[in-house]
């Protein structure tokens, strides 16, 4: 029965996890809280403050008074640790690719990726150039694609609304689902 505190914590975590995930209790808890948690998630989408090319300007314009993305609770955070969304708004060059992957890895789960504009979707006008990755989905999973060259601010906000719909449809609870992406 002798355990170190770390072992004890791991054991307790495992035991609680098993009970909650398997039993009806867990499902009941989830059913009560999932809606609540989903509400929190969809209403607080914080993208990473990261501009690449033209769409970055439209991203800035979207938070300006005319389009005002702040109404939806969209606030840009500068550090990837505190963000939910990686907004890729331009072509990804081969020099940038490892850095972008690292940014994605640094973000805390749950996280989503939006490919904004043609360049991020497929390389756009620079398709097949020697230094451009043809689409950001070649190395990170993308949830929402927003077409346009450049994307208009309205379209960007629409993309966020689409992402909200996606999260709402996923309806992931806290206990029965593992959030960490495999």
């Amino acid at each position: 029965m002798l355990m170190r505190s770390k072992d004890f914590l791991a054991w307790a975590d495992d035991w609680f996890g098993r009970v909650l995930k398997k039993s009806t209790l867990g499902r009941a808890v989830d059913r009560v809280f999932t809606d609540f948690f989903t509400w929190a998630r969809i209403n607080s989408l914080h993208p990473l403050h990261f501009g690449i090319m033209c769409c970055a300007i439209e991203m800035a314009a979207a938070s300006a008074p005319r389009f005002d993305a702040q109404r939806l609770g969209i606030i840009y955070r500068s550090t990837p640790r505190q963000c939910d969304i990686l907004l890729v708004n331009g072509p990804v060059s081969k020099k940038l690719r490892p850095d972008l992957r690292r940014l994605y890895d640094q973000m805390a789960d749950p996280k989503w990726v939006i490919a904004m504009g043609e360049c991020a979707i497929s390389g756009g006008p620079f398709w097949q150039s020697y230094s451009i990755v043809e689409g950001v989905d070649q190395f990170i999973p993308v949830d929402v694609y927003i077409p346009g060259c450049p994307v208009r601010p309205e379209a960007m906000i629409e993309g966020f609304v689409k992402l909200q719909e996606k999260i709402r449809a996923e309806k992931k609870g806290l206990l029965t689902e593992d959030w960490v992406r495999k």
């Binding site: 609540f36 209403n43 008074p65 609770g73 500068s78 640790r81």
Partner: protein
Amino acid sequence: MDLWGISYELTSFLIDIINFFIYGLGWLLPGVLGDAFNGLGDWLASTGVLNILTMIVEALIVLIVAILNVITLIWIDRKLLARMWDSRGPFYVGPLGYFQNIADGLKLFLKQVITPSKADKLSYHVAPVVFIGSSILILAVIPLSPGFALSYERAPIPGGVLFAFAIFAIAPFSILVAGWAQNNKYTLIGGMRSAAQMMSYEIPLLLSIASVFLLAGSFNFGDVVEAQANIWFAIPLFIGFVVFLVCIVAEIERIPFDLPEAEAELVEGWTTEYSGMRFGFFLMTQYIRGYAGCAIAAALFLGGWHGPSIIPDEIWFLSKAYIVFLIFVWMRASLPRIRTDQILDLGWKRLLPLAMINLIIAVAMKTSGWF
């Protein structure tokens, strides 16, 4: 009726209900077991236990009221800033976006907590706890009215103001530790800046409130506010009030003095590596400190809960605190960020002499017998 009284009634009512069952069990069960239950009931109803439970209930009430105020302040901050920026602020979540902060907080609660592999584990996890714990402690001593104050058997906390400022001064320590523990150059610089800034602003801050103590002749919030029944200290000690406001903005790290977390150059400053609710703690704590700062300003300089008695005392107090906060919001909307050496210059070369002048004025007033 005051807070202690309400809490006492509430607690004894709850204990009466519990004791109904305990004594019932004692009556039902025979022999030693029944005696034991009867003894438990007696113990619960004894004065000491009742007092301790009352204190817990009282603290909970104070905490909840304070947190509600803090949430409102965050909302006011976002809404008013947005209006000054010609936009709308949070709009869709709840009435006028009031629940936006709650959604943000809940989401942060659900986020993964990342501990960088090269971080100093113990201090990385302890620093946010120290930061938020010390800040919530400040709220304990701030009275909203003579009735609504944390007290023990109706005896107010002696030296409440001193206690508040002692606790205020703990924050730089935890910020420095947090900045160091994350093992990141930005956070280290942010932590150093924060420590330097807060420590150099403590001195003019304390000097400016020393003049208030001098005029009021007490370290208690209650006595200080009572001393302003005729005239607010902000009028005779106007210089001190201005110094105090500037210093408190520096202490709670808002624009123009938010350089420890200057997001443009230091990537969110000393919280760069914190994620999830640990970061949420930091964010919330800054507003808790903001609320504490505004409330202290209202109590020490703006006459606390004094005002025409049509409106309850608590509302008077809170509205004064909110008005001070509105000034901070206004400053944030219209001023750029200042630089490290300039902030220290301002603290040592401008505010400190002004605070000294203010102290001299206070001494002159006291000796001439005006107060």
